[in-house]
Point group: C2
DNA sequence: TAGACTAGAGAACGAACGTTCTCCCGCGCA
DNA sequence: TGCGCGGGAGAACGTTCGTTCTCTAGTCTA
């Protein structure tokens, strides 16, 4: 049984991801969540706080899903490439519209410090995870950095073109970098 | 002597890039351009059309600047890496806030088909240019694809972290890919 | 010079926004 | 049963938006 917060953040995540932040009104959030406006404002102070809470929750879930897949491979040397396998399935999900954090940063990075911070923290955590995985596989920190760039590049490219195969190309490049 | 269109698109480019699309009102555009509202609506049908015209003009200028730098090197084999040299200087410009097209797509990609098209076309043209340069340098199409991903990854990462050194890391990875 | 047209400055408009307020129903307790 | 209170539904508020309209001053032509 989902809590009110779950219901609200589910609605916010879906709508903000689909349409962006400013294009979604509080009324749409109310209708999609089934919660009265009063309850929404009691749970969070306002629209910005909802977006930040949504991004934070999504951050946990997203990195969990990535780690669950990448760490599933018993061989540490295979794990960096497993990141891109998971990425491809994620890019191919219905309604995929790029990286929620990149999108949020593009729209609100300069006007909402709280959201800008949430994005920076998420991206830093992902880079850190990639670095751990790559170095455990015997890669250098420089290789880890490159693989993070490939990851970001594949997400943004697939988001715009709609073609999940960017993940396969990124995987191929990552494999080359790991071997050299 | 700049035309009214130049004045308007200069203002639009500066303001939209700094704050995003929806955060900039027509009044701000009027004030920054020095043009009466009536003239603005006579030049373009509305706000969306201004954004599209701005992106199109920026596309020409951006790709010209990139090509001017990358094609300056007389040795075709060096040109793919020259892309990243130029990228680093661009990422280091004052007020850099990531890729204008990625930002626009994140905010408006799902609500404004005209803007989504402008972004897709720009990205396709850049990918095509990179492919030409890389293949002229002896790289494979697969390598060209990877280098485009590194380019996108560096732009988005530098935009969020504010650190232009992402271009150097991308350059290093590109060099490795070109050698293998 | 007289008149018609252009274009500038900004008021005005209707819609939509985030947020708050009002009203009232229904439950818990004495 | 009577009373009080928390919370639901949605109207209302003030603001801001994109766009259009009004009024006026200037300019070109016959």
């Amino acid at each position: 049984m989902p809590t009110d917060q779950d219901r609200l953040l589910d609605a916010a995540e879906k709508l903000f991801y689909e349409r962006g932040y400013q294009a979604v009104g509080m009324d749409a959030l109310r209708e999609a969540s089934g919660l009265p406006l009063k309850r929404i404002y009691a749970l969070y102070g306002g629209k910005d706080a909802i977006a930040v809470a949504m991004l934070d929750r999504r951050d946990l879930r997203w990195r969990h899903a990535l780690a669950a897949h990448a760490s599933h491979d018993p061989e540490p040397a295979h794990r960096p490439l497993a990141i891109f396998d998971w990425l491809e399935t994620w890019l191919a999900t219905d309604g995929h519209r790029g990286c929620a954090w990149i999108n949020a940063y593009g729209e609100l990075g300069s006007t909402s410090p709280a959201i800008a911070d949430a994005v920076r923290e998420h991206k830093a955590r992902v880079r850190e995870y990639v670095a751990d995985i790559v170095e455990a596989a015997g890669g250098t920190p420089e290789t880890a950095h490159s693989i993070s760039l490939l990851l970001e590049g594949a997400m943004v490219t697939a988001g715009i073109t709609g073609d999940p195969s960017a993940a396969r190309h990124a995987r191929h490049a990552a494999a080359t970098l790991l071997q050299s």
